[in-house]
């Protein structure tokens, strides 16, 4: 009886305390920030007008873990400890976790994930906008099992369409905006199997530009538009074996074609002529190495500016394509530098659009086999060594944590890849131990984080990715959703009465 009575008193006391600002911790900046966040969330109102514009940002391979690494990197680049930094997309009022598995893959690749977002259905690994009743590589079956894309739907509404990527414009994520393919590798005709009647992906882009579906396409991938024997402006040869020069064909069809930062900057956009920017033979450069090519933010700015002249609105798919490639290489430095460039593009889009009429979605297509060690003190560089936390202060002590082998270790690592500590021996077995490591070596731009399983290329993972959204119907995102649901929110937002 006494115990129950005491419990009742405690509950009453707590109720009173939480409704007042006289708690002993009330002056703490943490407490004040928490209260401010409550006020901010209470003020959030759903926007239920029809979306005039939709922008879908995808950073390839930038799942929850990779996004965390980019956040810390960006915060430390800004002079802080990193953890408390807020990326532009992290200010959006709505978020969800996204399940990225494909029809046949616990671990997806970028083809079915992009297809899910662009057509509303999951499909098999390796396939783009073709239903999963079809087998990979089955050109004949694929010809009658294509999905209609969001770009085609909004084009019929009179909206303009832009597709941007720092990967090849024929690579899986951008290709899913405009193409259907039973194999993502059919980027030009040289990879089409004999007898396959499906058009290659570069050819499909040209068709969609001629049809008025795609208005602006910017990325890498010149090699897939030029025939073998013909060299591009950087002396790299085309790959097509059908003798067709799709750059010439695009120009003849009225498109403006540009190849570098200079002609891109000089370009007059927004006069209704389609624009094809092909800034590299293959992928555009990593942001770390970029020279003579526009940044993702610059491409984003020019495209929004040009397509904003359409009073019916636009859909733009914008991909940071190389977070993925740097993760594949096991080189976290280039992954986070490209992740920051991706965030810069998002900031530019936020600045140039209005949340009242533009739905912006920021997500990733899949995660990687990246993982994070502990227990690192605050301010440990995200690409550097895990430093000891300081019990007498905030920032780490500057002394690295040591593993059981007596050696320091980095904050981040990969489960597999080229950074494996197991090295192939002369007898083809694998053996090894962790190399010793200094902070200077770890933060070098070319350093590969240590990995466990030896592989030539680090892999994707099936882990969830985050999604952030603002604008009309962004509130339909919440909880844990399937990746193909993204299409359905976009479609609802542009169709809502």
């Amino acid at each position: 009886m006494k115990k129950i009575l005491l419990s009742g008193v405690a509950v009453l006391a707590m109720t009173v305390a939480t409704s007042a600002q006289d708690l002993p911790q009330a002056a703490s900046p943490w407490f004040v920030a928490g209260q401010a966040k409550i006020a901010e969330r209470l003020a959030v109102q759903p926007i239920t007008a029809k979306a005039k514009n939709v922008i879908l940002f995808t950073a390839d391979g930038n799942g929850v873990g990779s996004n965390y690494a980019v956040r810390i990197y960006s915060g430390q680049l800004a002079g802080g400890l990193g953890d408390d930094y807020v990326q532009p997309q992290e200010t959006f009022p709505h978020a969800a976790l996204v399940k990225t598995y494909s029809s046949n893959g616990q671990t997806p690749d970028s083809a079915p994930t992009a297809a899910a977002m662009n057509s509303g259905v999951k499909t098999k690994n390796g396939m783009i906008n073709v239903l999963d009743t079809v087998n990979v590589d089955d050109c004949a079956a694929g010809a009658t099992a294509g999905a209609k894309t969001f770009a085609e739907i909004v084009s019929e509404m009179g909206k303009s369409v832009g597709v941007i990527s720092t990967a090849r414009i024929t690579h899986a994520t951008p290709a899913a905006v405009y193409a259907r393919s039973v194999n993502r590798d059919f980027e030009d005709n040289s990879t089409l199997p004999e007898g396959c009647t499906q058009k290659d992906i570069a050819d499909q882009l040209l068709d969609q530009m001629k049809a008025g579906v795609v208005d602006i396409a910017l990325g890498g991938g010149r090699q897939h538009f030029l025939p073998a024997g013909v060299k591009d402006v950087e002396d790299k040869e085309g790959k097509r074996t059908d003798g067709r020069n799709l750059v010439d064909e695009a120009t003849a069809a009225g498109a403006k074609v540009v190849f570098g930062a200079d002609d891109f900057t000089a370009l007059t956009m927004g006069d209704n002529a389609p624009v094809l920017g092909l800034f590299e033979a293959s992928h555009m450069k990593y942001e770390q190495d970029r020279s003579g090519e526009p940044s993702l933010a610059e491409m984003t700015e020019a495209t929004i500016k040009a397509l904003s002249t359409n009073e019916n609105g636009f859909f733009i798919s914008i991909e940071g394509g190389r977070v993925d490639h740097a993760n594949h290489a096991g080189n976290l430095h280039r992954a986070v530098v490209d992740g920051k460039a991706f965030a810069d593009a998002i900031a530019k889009a936020m600045e140039m659009t209005n949340a009242e009429d533009t739905l912006i979605i920021v997500t990733a297509d899949h995660e990687h086999a990246i993982a994070f060690n502990g227990y690192c003190g605050r301010g440990s560089k995200i690409t550097g060594l895990c430093m000891k936390e300081n019990p007498n202060g905030i920032e780490h002590t500057g002394e690295p944590e040591l593993a059981a082998d007596g050696k320091p270790y980095t904050v981040a690592g990969y489960l597999n890849g080229a950074g494996s500590v197991l090295i192939e021996q002369a007898d083809k077995t694998f053996a090894g131990s962790r190399p010793d490591l200094t902070e200077e070596q770890a933060i070098d731009p070319d350093y590969l984080q240590q990995a466990l399983i030896p592989m030539t290329s680090e892999t994707h993972s099936g882990e969830d990715v985050a999604l952030f959204a603002r604008g009309p119907w962004a509130h339909l995102f919440g909880g844990v959703v399937e990746q193909n649901y993204i299409f359905h929110v976009m479609n609802h937002a542009v169709s809502a009465q």
Partner: protein, 141 residues
């Protein structure tokens, strides 16, 4: 272990040795190029000299050859990124003194040889290179 013991045993007058070693430290492959892929001042100033360059041995194109490609990062072939696996721009062609004894692609090595700059197409392999180390030896870093 042995080297450390040896250095500790050196007379004080010989302690300048590590400083000289630092001067001769291998050049990083990335230091040969500017961002626009033109040659750096370091590369131009060392042309024709014998230099050591750090990097990784890409899996050789041909067995029993004196030729291999040195890469800045381990040549991690990405099956989803590069069908046909084109080479990165910032590589270096190595012509070794002896037939190459392959070192795994992800083991850091230092190659020492005479630095050659300028376009060259290998007459046998057809491999185009902008920069080479010839008469080269190599070892794990």
């Amino acid at each position: 272990m042995i080297r450390r013991t040896f250095l500790l045993a050196l007379p004080a007058g010989l302690l300048t040795l590590p400083v000289r070693a630092a001067d001769d430290a291998p050049i990083k492959l990335r230091d040969l190029y500017e961002k626009d892929m033109s040659f750096s001042q370091i590369a131009l100033s060392r042309q024709g000299s014998r230099v050591g360059i750090a990097g990784f041995m890409a899996p050789p194109l041909k067995a029993e050859s004196v030729f291999f490609v040195l890469t800045k990062l381990p040549m991690a072939v990405c099956p989803f990124c590069e069908p046909g696996s084109p080479w990165p721009d910032d590589i270096l062609a190595v012509y070794a003194k002896r037939v190459v004894d392959v070192i795994p692609f992800n083991v850091p090595i230092v190659v020492t040889g005479v630095l050659e700059l300028g376009d060259h197409v290998d007459p046998e392999l057809g491999f185009y290179s902008k920069v080479r180390l010839v008469d080269a030896t190599y070892a794990r870093a």
